[in-house]
């Protein structure tokens, strides 16, 4: 039987969990970690690898290392200026205005990069569970719009997973805690992750988790705090040494790395040391950067960023029609909530000590696994009723945004609006669909234009076309239209929408499979090479030691075969390597080392 996993696909780290033996558990990755860095790197010949190994080589390979890809999911070129300043890899504008990542001349959609992360999680989970994983619940920030949700769902599909549901991260977090909570409680979830900030208010009653309101800032996360520290470090260095490091990508990456570490250290300590030897190498001699960084300094730098969380919290309280003192529980999510200044601010605002029993990096994945349990009928105690975080509407006269489904409406939700023609015999009606909170259409996120086409000839105002806007439980929007007079379903096309088309997704699925194959072959190659190298040196050692105890011809044969093996290892032919390994072992039988153990090592899958 195949398994369903819950995936928290984070900006900096991802995490997965499954519902096993009646409870949710975190699944460690192949390296043994509970979280996996959301980093994808490419080798020179274009092979991707994911996770801690990718993150570790980022400094030496900045152009081919893709981090924080979540910030570009479902985004248009014009929306990501702030994000582009943070990353070191190249981005390009696609024909439909989407953002693409460029690595050595190959274009990747952000969905594809995310899919590589999901694929790694999937295969690690399969290894851990000993079962195939085909279904998943994936979490997204509550503030993700339709395009971002669709992109996340597509990433899951590209990775070969059937995405049962996309749920909001703060909602998932509350599920993780809520299983143990008594009835009629109000929960505030404060979720400050690597790239996004979300706040949600939920009511728990009679087993129903009802999200009352949600708010947030799509451009606020740990990365911004790192950037603030880096900007400060740059200024310090310039003041001290008169050098501007901001144009040096390697120095910048090192600074970001150091800033992140310092920030994390300062959650537990009050001072930390930043040491960056050889940060610059001007002609007059190398420069080092070393300074003591205190929590007070960090707090000062982060204060404006932390203040940005206040507005959304107050708005969420207002939208839920709840006063701060009526909140029963505060749940913290995301690594950034480890920062004492963040915790203090939340406490000052709500007046409650936050829950900290579940690791804030894992709580979302656990909630996703619980939701997977609900969907599979394994969890019966709870049911989630989420809301849409952004208002859905259309553009009307004068560029005004007319709301059809207000934000914080429970989903699934549906709204039907009747449209008519403005002119006689008008053959088409065009409807511009948007998501957002601005009164003016231009400031909201365009989801595309629907064209009602092939309308029957009629006088203006006579046709009545019911257009139904439907938000499903994933928060994804579907549009259907019906001509009321004739009862015909109208043909609908959404144009100018972003995101991937069906055939693009299929192509990416294929490419992902190829990468998976190639990765498999590469791993095999690396394994055989390693074994060959170890074997060659071990036998060489023994040969040197015992050569006087064997025949000279045997010794020279062994030496020859060692040389052959080393030659084979330098190539890429796995079959040839295996052959050389076998013949070397055979000829080395005369040497007295422990054959049994080694032979076991030399059993390979020959496929």
């Amino acid at each position: 039987m195949s398994k369903t996993i819950g995936i928290d696909l984070g900006t900096t780290n991802s995490c997965m969990a499954a519902f096993l033996c009646g409870g949710p558990i975190i699944i460690p990755n192949a390296e043994g970690g509970n979280t996996t860095p959301s980093v994808v790197a490419f080798t020179e010949d274009g092979q991707p690898f994911v996770g801690i190994s990718a993150k570790q080589q980022q400094l030496g390979n900045p152009q081919r290392t893709i981090s924080s890809i979540k910030r570009f999911m479902g985004r248009q070129w014009g929306e990501v200026n702030e994000e582009m300043a943070i990353v070191a890899y190249s981005l390009e504008k696609a024909e439909n205005g989407d953002v693409k990542v460029m690595v050595d001349g190959t274009q990747y959609a952000p969905q594809e990069i995310s899919a590589m992360i999901i694929q790694k999680l999937k295969s690690d989970a399969e290894q851990y569970l000993g079962e195939s994983v085909t279904n998943a619940v994936i979490t997204v920030p509550a503030y993700f719009n339709d395009a971002q949700r669709k992109a996340t769902k597509d990433a899951g599909r590209i990775a070969g997973l059937n995405v049962l549901r996309v749920i909001n991260e703060p909602t998932a977090a509350s599920l993780a805690y809520g299983l143990d909570m008594s009835d009629d409680q109000t929960i505030l979830v404060f979720d400050l992750g690597g790239g996004t900030f979300d706040v949600s208010i939920l009511g728990l009653g009679g087993g129903l988790f009802e999200v009352k309101s949600t708010n947030g800032d799509n451009h606020l996360g740990g990365d911004n705090f790192d950037k603030a520290i880096v900007d400060w470090l740059l200024a310090e260095f310039k003041r001290e040494q008169g050098l501007d490091l901001s144009a040096d990508p390697i120095a910048l990456l090192r600074l970001f790395d150091a800033a992140e570490h310092a920030k994390i250290n300062l959650s537990d300590c009050t001072t930390t040391q930043i040491n960056l030897p050889y940060i610059a190498t001007p002609p007059e001699g190398p420069k080092h950067f070393s300074l003591t960084f205190t929590r007070t300094q960090l707090d000062e730098l982060s204060a404006p960023l932390i203040e940005r969380t206040v507005g959304p919290i107050l708005q969420a309280l207002a939208d839920a029609d709840i006063k701060a003192h009526q909140i029963d529980h505060v749940v913290l999510v995301g690594g950034m909530t480890r920062m004492p200044a963040v915790q203090d601010r939340v406490k000052a605002l709500i007046g409650k000590d936050p829950h900290k029993d579940i690791n804030p990096d894992e709580v979302v994945a656990i909630g996703a696994a619980i939701q997977a349990g609900v969907l599979l009928g394994e969890v019966k105690e709870v049911l989630l009723l989420d809301v849409t975080s952004l208002s859905l509407g259309i553009e009307t006269k004068g560029g005004v945004f007319t709301r059809l489904i207000e934000r914080n409406t429970s989903i699934p939700a549906r709204k039907t609006q009747t449209f008519t023609t403005a002119e006689d015999n008008q053959p088409t009606v065009e409807i511009h669909i948007l998501q957002g909170e601005s009164e003016m259409a231009a400031f909201n996120k365009s989801l595309g234009t629907i064209l009602l086409v092939d309308l029957p000839p009629a006088r203006r105002g006579l046709l009545e076309i019911d257009v139904t806007f439907d938000i499903d439980a994933n928060g994804i929007i579907h549009v259907t239209a019906e001509d009321i007079v004739s009862g015909n379903e109208q043909q609908i096309r959404i144009e100018g929408g972003s995101g991937l088309k069906e055939d693009e997704i299929n192509q990416m699925v294929k490419r992902a499979d190829e990468f998976a194959d190639a990765a498999h072959r590469l791993r095999e190659l690396a394994d055989v090479r390693n074994h060959g190298e170890v074997l060659a040196s071990e036998i060489e050692l023994s040969l040197n030691e015992y050569s006087d105890q064997i025949e000279e011809s045997e010794a020279s044969l062994i030496a020859e075969r060692i040389a052959d093996l080393r030659l084979a290892i330098a190539g890429v032919d796995v079959g040839n390597m295996r052959k050389c390994i076998e013949s070397l072992i055979e000829s080395a039988q005369v040497l007295r080392f422990d054959e049994g153990e080694d032979e076991e090592d030399f059993v390979y899958d020959v496929d």
Partner: protein, 355 residues
């Protein structure tokens, strides 16, 4: 005699209120104008006798019998537009009434965001109406003069060609007017053509500073086509055509249907309403009924019904306040007296569609 409050407009009260006494004839039936304030906005109202006013109900006669009231309503708003100057005013739809001053304040409170937004949008702007009629005979003559061969052609064919040419001319006029006037206006709104010979009837929203520019543009385009078309230039007016706020008088059919869908009795407490909603969601949610394709549909209906019932309850005085009502009545007379403000945007826009 039963009195109600008739609301003319919303104005900004941050810069002092207009001198209403200066408008000596007063409001409808000469009742003195008054203001009700909420935060930085205020409603301009006057008392009316509801019975006198309600005679207007038969739809086809409504306009006739209301003419006098409508005229006064427009005069009051014109006066307010002049008085408020650059600060802007927001005319409300004709016929907007509330039971007493407290309810007027509640309307302002609940619709504050919308009213404030509109006020801001209309600040320093006014409505100018351009109505254009053409003289078809002159146009046809001109077409004939340019195409003398038409006169001798087959009459059916010639008629069709003449008609087509005239339509082309019309398009040329309308396009010309549109391209000259639209750039100097902030917004526009087309109204139905009122007569056979009217070819253009549009309200423009124009900044007061740009009035002269707009006048020049009108002169220019009028001169260009003066041979064939006549311009009627009305204004400045309050921005009647640019205000579109959904404020709904209690709609019994809709609230009743929703109440029944939630399986609630005619009197229900807020806790009972919430509990009914939860029970129905737990029963119908698609996550609990993965094999039932209609579960999603039913859930959406429950959510929609709850939104309507909640909007109704929240519109009642004292909702959620200590000492407020513990039970809500869904009886016809209660609902019809209620004043539901659609602060959730679109919940109630399909009022008229509810059976």
């Amino acid at each position: 005699m039963q009195e109600k409050r008739f609301i003319y407009a919303t104005i900004d009260n941050r810069v002092g209120l207009p001198n209403l006494a200066a408008f000596q004839q007063g409001g409808i039936n000469n009742a003195p104008l008054e203001v009700v304030c909420y935060r930085d906005i205020a409603a301009v109202i006057s008392a009316i006798d509801i019975h006198l006013f309600a005679q207007a109900i038969p739809a086809d006669q409504a306009e006739e019998s209301q003419k006098e009231h409508l005229l006064r309503y427009q005069q009051v708003n014109a006066f307010l537009l002049e008085q408020t100057g650059r600060n802007g005013m927001l005319p409300l739809k004709f016929g907007f009434t509330a039971t007493d001053d407290a309810e007027v304040a509640r309307v302002l409170e609940q619709a504050y965001v919308q009213l404030r937004t509109y006020l801001e949008r209309l600040q320093g702007k006014m409505e100018l109406v351009i109505q254009v009629t053409w003289e078809l005979p002159k146009v046809l003559q001109a077409v004939l003069k340019e195409n003398p061969e038409l006169a001798s052609a087959d009459p059916v064919q010639a008629g069709r060609l003449l008609f087509e040419s005239a339509e082309n001319m019309k398009r040329k006029f309308v396009d010309g007017i549109h391209s000259k006037l639209t750039p100097v206006a902030s917004d526009y709104s087309d109204a139905p053509l009122k007569s056979e010979d009217m070819i253009f009837n549009r309200s423009f929203l124009v900044e007061k500073d740009k009035e002269a520019l707009f006048d020049d543009a009108v002169d220019e385009v009028a001169t260009e086509f003066e041979e064939f078309i006549t311009f009627k230039y009305i204004g400045p007016l309050p921005a009647y055509s640019f205000v579109n706020i959904e404020l709904n008088q209690g709609n019994f059919a809709m609230v009743d249907k929703s109440r029944k869908l939630l399986q609630l009795p005619e009197m229900a407490s807020w806790d009972a309403i919430k509990s009914a909603f939860r029970q129905l969601i737990l029963a119908h949610h698609p996550d609990r009924n993965p094999d039932d394709p209609l579960a999603g549909q039913r859930t959406k209906e429950v959510v929609e019904a709850f939104d309507i019932v909640r909007a109704y309850c929240q519109s009642l005085p004292g909702f959620g306040e200590p000492g407020g009502p513990t039970e809500f009545s869904f009886a016809k007379e209660s609902v019809e007296q209620a004043f539901i403000i659609d602060d959730k945007g679109a919940v109630l826009t399909r009022v008229n569609k509810a059976e």
